[in-house]
Amino acid sequence: MSDYNFAYLDEQTKRMIRRAILKGLAIPGYQVPFASREMPMPYGWGTGGVQVSAAILTPDDTFKAIDQGADDTTNAVSIRRFFQKTAGVAVTEATKEASVIQTRHRIPEQDLRDDQILVYQVPIPEPLRFLEPSEVETRKMHSLEEYGLMHVKLYEDISQHGDIATAYAYPVKVEGRYVMDPSPIPKFDNPKLEMAGIQLFGAGREQRIYAIPPYTQVVSLDFDDYPFQPTKADHACDLCGAEDSYLDELIVDDAGGRMFMCSDTDYCTSRRKNGHVGAQGVPFKEDAA
């Protein structure tokens, strides 16, 4: 039993957020303004994602929170505990057991099902922000579908770096209409944006909610002669040996030693449980730290 209203927010606020979510789902990729509330955490720590999660959680849900793919980092742990305390919902670290997954900067490696919801924390929802500083103008550009400027950024990338150097928050066009910032996920994850689960994006400081319904067409912007390419470190995971997952690079000593490991901790752990061992890994033991 908890002294908080279920999932912290009051019911009126949750209804307001749900209306914004429904509108977002009805117009895929469109940024719906909403009256973002003060949350007991600083802006930039996932206030938007937390409000969206609070509005959609039911007592029967199982909640998972990840930060850069990991379940055990400060941000993920505190958000998970927040909902444990204020909503009393079951929590898990296993992707396939969760019904609501709040994420920062990653999409889980495991494909999501149509009964799962992925909630993103979004720092800057406006993909045109750094190209056109006026919000009045960018809204007009969205409403009139004037997206030439987005390609100017990609053009600049190629002219300066010889290739599209944008590696995260790679702009996408949703269902042939709205250009959307997929939040700072690596562009490796962009192809996964076409999925079976519902994807909700919450930006607390910027007071915007947007959404991608299941099986929606999501196209990463590119040029005909420089097509979009999802990239990752050219390496296999040193712990579990996976060659298809997104990797973190870890400096392990001051003599140039390094290792690559899956950024998705659940994916890595479950592979190790199934007996996969990477180049620097050791066989999985249940009680090992």
Binding site: G148, H151, I158
Partner: protein
């Protein structure tokens, strides 16, 4: 022959003050119209009304669109008007920084209008940008430099390239040579005159520099206090001014 632009009784008021009023003229394809007058005479207000930056309080501005012939650009929908302003129209600002993206390379600046009309091939866009930079006498090795690294004259030439790359039919220019020193002005005027002839552009040039209109404009309108007080062929107006103010204007030019 259908006029490219038909302006009818345009008026714009700022509260009780007159911006410009009772302005009417026709502009035919390939024709260059100059608008002169002192500061505050309403010439920039007029230009902004014609280019869709300001909504006039009265009157009509009809443009000969490729698809439907003459259409009133004031009553047409905003997407249509904005489409016009990035395809068939061009606007050259007095200050190049108003018309350029200063944090985007020269090539990106020229390519923006192409990408806005759905060019999606990097190689083609770049080739076109190099071609246009060449036409305005900017060497190819400056293509990846930002306009902040350019001189004032180069910035102005870059702005012209950026505007003309989509092959517009009507160019609005607001003091295109303002703030440039005379030798740079001369080269820019030479360039503009060449481009206007070569591409058969129509243009409306607002300036207070009579030498500029003498060189570029076929026809001239003189404005004072929001009204057109005299108009006619450029040479005729400048050589035989009828209105007292025009006589004052012409005789005020410094002789070297």
């Amino acid at each position: 022959m259908t006029p490219l632009l038909q302006v009818e009784n345009i008026a714009k008021f700022y509260g009780a003050r007159i911006g410009c009023t009772d302005v009417s003229f026709d502009l035919y394809p390939g024709e260059v119209m100059g608008i002169v007058g002192e500061s505050g005479s309403g010439k920039s207000t007029l230009l902004n009304c014609l280019a869709g930056h300001l909504t006039p309080d009265r009157g009509a501005v009809r443009f000969d669109t490729r698809a439907d012939g003459l259409r009133d650009t004031i009553t047409m929908s905003e997407p249509e008007r904005r489409m016009l302003s990035r395809t068939d129209w061009a606007f050259v600002h007095q200050h190049a920084r108003d018309g350029l993206r200063m944090n985007v390379s020269a090539g990106g600046n020229v390519g923006e209008r192409l990408m806005a009309v759905n060019a999606r091939h990097y190689g083609d866009i770049r080739a076109e940008a190099i071609d246009w930079l060449g036409r305005v006498e900017i060497t190819e090795d400056r293509i990846d430099d930002r306009p902040t690294a350019f001189s004032g004259g180069m910035q102005q030439r870059l702005q012209i390239a950026r505007n003309l790359v989509t092959g517009p039919r009507l160019v609005f220019m607001d003091e295109p040579t303002g703030g440039l020193d005379v030798s740079v002005q001369a080269r820019l005027l030479d360039l503009l005159r060449g481009l206007v002839r070569e591409m058969n552009l129509s243009a409306i040039i607002v300036t207070h520099d009579l030498a500029v209109v003498r060189l570029l404009a076929d026809r001239l309108m003189v404005m004072k206090d929001g009204h057109v007080i005299e108009s006619g062929l450029t040479d005729q107006v400048l050589d035989d001014p009828q209105h007292a103010y025009t006589q004052l204007l012409v005789s005020s030019v410094l002789q070297v």
